[in-house]
Amino acid sequence: MSFDDTAISVQNISKRYDLFGKPSDQLRQFILPRLQRLAGIEKKNYFQEFWALSDVSFEVKKGESFGIVGRNGSGKSTLLQIITGTLTPTTGSVTTRGRIAALLELGSGFNPDFTGRENVYLNAALLGFSREQIEERFDAIAAFADIGQHLDQPVKSYSSGMIVRLAIAVQTQVDPDILIVDEALAVGDALFQKRCYRQIDRLLDNGCTLLFVSHDQEIVRSLTTRALFLHQGTIRNYGSSAEVLFSYREFLQQEEEAAFRSLQKNSEVKTASIRNDSSYGNLDVEILSVAIFDKNDAMQAVLYAGDTMRLSIKCVSHCDIENLNVAFRVRSKEGIKVTTWGTLNQDMPHFTVDPESTFWHRKFKKGEFFTVDFVGTCNLAANLYEIQAVVAVEYDQYYANQRILHWLDAAAHLTVVQKSREYVFDGVCDLGLRYVPNASLNEASGVPQ
C-alpha cells in the first residue's frame, strides 16, 4: 500500500492499431525492422496505422466513481481494456492499485463447456482467490446470480442474460479494489439491474473505485462524481460529471443537427424560410425560425430542468390575414407528445371577456414579420426533445375548423439535463407537486405557488 490515494493513473496513453494485412505481417514487423536496422537499411513498416487513442491522461482517486462517455468508436472500450490490462498502450503508462474486476464483454472469460459452478471457481481463481476463499463466497455468488439449478449446467446452454448475471455475480462479490463496468448492466432485467446498482453502491461504500462507461447518461450522472468525455480518441472534456455530461449532450445535439442538416437539400435553413420534407402548408404565413433562449436571452440547445426558457417562433405573413394560431408541440425522442400549447389555447378564456385583446383577433399585413414568444419554466425530465411548430388559421375559436398554413417538424431540438444534486426527478415532466406540511387544499395559503 502506498500513501498515494490514486487508484488509477493514466499518463499520456496512446494506442495505435497496426492494421496488418495478414497475421504473418505481424511476425515480419517483429523481426525485419530489427534486421533492417542492423543492416543499416531504412526500416520498412508492414502495417497501416490507426490511432484509437491519442495522448489521454487522467487520474482516478481511491474510492472515487468515475464515468467515461463518448460516442461509439470514440475509444472508450480501448481505454478500458488498456486499464484492465488486456491491451497494451503504444505509448504512455497506466498504473493501477489493487485487484481489478472488470465487467467488459461479460462472460467472455467463461469456458462454454464448463458448468456455471466450475466457471465461478475458474474466474475467481483468475482473480487470485484460493479454493477455500472461493468456497467461502460461493453461496453469495450463487445467491446474487440467482439462476437456480442452471448453475450446474454447461455455460453454453445459458441464455445471454444468465451468463451476464453469473459474470456480474462473480466480479462484484469478490470485493475488488477497482470495478470497471462497461455497458454490462443494461442486459439484466430491471430487478437484476437494481440489485447490481445496490451492490455497486455497497462496494463504493467500502472504498472500491468505480470506472463506469454507459450510454445511459442518467446512470452515469447519478453514479459518478467525475467524468471524462472522449471523442475520436482524445479527451474533449474532463471534470465533474454534470459538467462533462452537459457538454456531451451539447455535442450530441450538434452532431444530430449536423446530420439533420446534411440530409436537407437546401441548406440555407437559418436565414431563409425553413422548408423541408417535414414541413407543409400553403405558407400564407411562414415560420422562419424556431429557437430556444435561456433567461439571459442566449440561444440554447441544452437546458437544465427548472431553467427559465423562451421558445421563440419567428414568422412572416405573405398576405393580409387574421385569426391566426401559432402553436408548438414538444415530443420526446421516443416520439411521445409531451405537451402542446398555442396562442389559441391562451386566447380561449378571453374570448368572452375581452376578445379584442386576443392574438386571434390580431391582423397581419402582407410582408409583416412577427415573433411569438412562449415563456416559462422548463419542467421537462432529462431527455432529448423535438419541437414542432405550427401556424394555422382557426375559423373556429375552439379548434373546430382550421387550416394549416405552415407545419414544421423538428423545427428545433432541445436537450434537457438535470443537476444531479439539486433538482432531480424521473418520468416525463415535473408536475410541481411539493411536500407541504399540514397542507389542505381548502386553505389557499397552504398550496405552494
Binding site: 496488418f20 484492465t84 488486456t86 497494451t88 467472455s108 472469460g109 475458474l122 484460493s130
Partner: protein
C-alpha cells in the same frame, strides 16, 4: 499482480507464475482431461480402457500374428515386443500430444487474450499436464502388464519419473515457442502433425537402436526422444539404473530450451491481441 508491468522473463518468474496459478492450472488440466471424454458414459474409464486395448492389440498383432522379435539372440516372452513397443509409444505421445496442440493453444482461447487478464503462459503447462496424465495412466497399465507377464517389476522403475522429467521440460519449452509462433504464423498448425508422425518412425519405437547400422546410431541420438525411450526401457524392463550423467546433460539442454521458449513467448505475447 500488476497487469501493466512488462511480462517477466526470468527463470524464477516461470516458477512463480506456475505456483501462483497452481489452482488454475489444476482446474484447467482436470477439465482438459475430463473434457476429452465429455458426454461419454464411461468417461475417465476410457483413459484406462484405451491403453489396455491398445496393448492387447499390439501383443496380438506383433507377437502372435507377426511373431516379431525385438532383439537377436536371447529368448524373449511372447509379449515382450508389444511391451517394448508400448514404452516407446507412451514416450512419443507424451511429447507429440503437447506439441501438436501447442500452436493452436492461444488461437483456441482468444477470449483469454482479448477479454480478460489471463496468465497465458500457463496454457502450454495445462496442455503438458493433460498429456502427462495420459502418460501416467498408460505407464500404470504397462506396469500392471509387466507384473502380469513377468511376475515382477524391477525396483529401478521408480526412476521413471526422473527419466521423463527432462522430456517434460523440453516439451514445455518447445510448446511455449510454438504457441506464440502459431498466433502469428497460422501455418505452423499444419505440418506439426506430420512432423510428429515422422518423429515416431525416426525414434526407436518400433525397433531397438541397436538394430540400426552403427554409423547411423549417433545421428538417431539427435532425436530428443531416442535417449528418453532407451532410458525408460532400461529402468522399466531391463531393470537397470538410468544413465545419470546423460540425464544431467539432457536436463541442462532442456532447461535452456525451456527458458528460451518462455522468453520468446513472453516477449511476443503483447502482440497477440493485435492479430487475434
Amino acid at each position: 499482480m500488476n497487469p501493466h508491468a512488462p511480462a517477466p522473463v526470468s527463470p524464477v518468474s516461470v516458477l512463480r507464475s506456475t505456483w501462483r496459478n497452481r489452482e488454475l492450472i489444476g482446474q484447467l488440466t482436470k477439465r482438459d482431461v475430463i473434457g476429452r471424454y465429455k458426454g461419454s458414459v464411461l468417461g475417465l474409464v476410457w483413459s484406462f480402457v484405451n491403453p489396455v486395448m491398445l496393448l492387447t492389440i499390439y501383443t496380438l498383432v506383433f507377437s502372435v500374428v507377426f511373431k516379431a522379435r525385438w532383439g537377436v539372440g536371447e529368448p524373449e516372452s511372447r509379449s515382450q515386443f508389444a511391451i517394448l513397443l508400448f514404452v516407446g509409444m507412451i514416450v512419443h505421445s507424451l511429447f507429440s500430444e503437447t506439441l501438436i496442440r501447442a500452436p493452436s493453444l492461444i488461437l483456441a482461447n482468444v477470449s483469454y487474450v482479448k477479454k480478460i487478464v489471463f496468465p497465458l503462459e500457463i496454457l502450454p503447462i495445462v496442455a503438458m499436464g493433460a498429456s502427462l496424465f495420459h502418460a501416467v495412466v498408460n505407464m500404470l497399465v504397462l506396469c500392471g502388464a509387466l507384473v502380469l507377464i513377468n511376475g515382477m517389476l524391477p525396483w529401478q522403475a521408480i526412476f521413471l519419473p526422473l527419466v521423463l522429467l527432462p522430456l517434460v521440460i523440453l516439451s514445455l519449452g518447445i510448446a511455449w515457442g510454438l504457441a506464440s509462433l502459431g498466433v502469428f504464423l497460422r501455418d505452423v498448425v499444419q505440418p506439426i502433425g506430420l512432423l510428429m508422425t515422422i518423429l515416431l518412425f525416426a525414434s526407436p519405437v518400433f525397433y531397438p537402436i541397436s538394430a540400426l547400422p552403427p554409423a547411423v546410431q549417433p545421428w538417431l541420438m539427435l532425436n530428443p526422444l531416442t535417449f528418453i525411450i532407451e532410458q525408460s526401457r532400461a529402468v522399466l524392463i531391463q531393470g537397470q539404473f538410468p544413465n545419470f550423467p546423460g540425464l544431467l546433460i539432457y536436463s541442462i539442454v532442456s532447461l535452456l530450451v525451456a527458458w528460451g521458449g518462455y522468453v520468446w513467448f513472453q516477449k511476443t505475447r503483447k502482440g497477440f491481441a493485435n492479430v487475434l
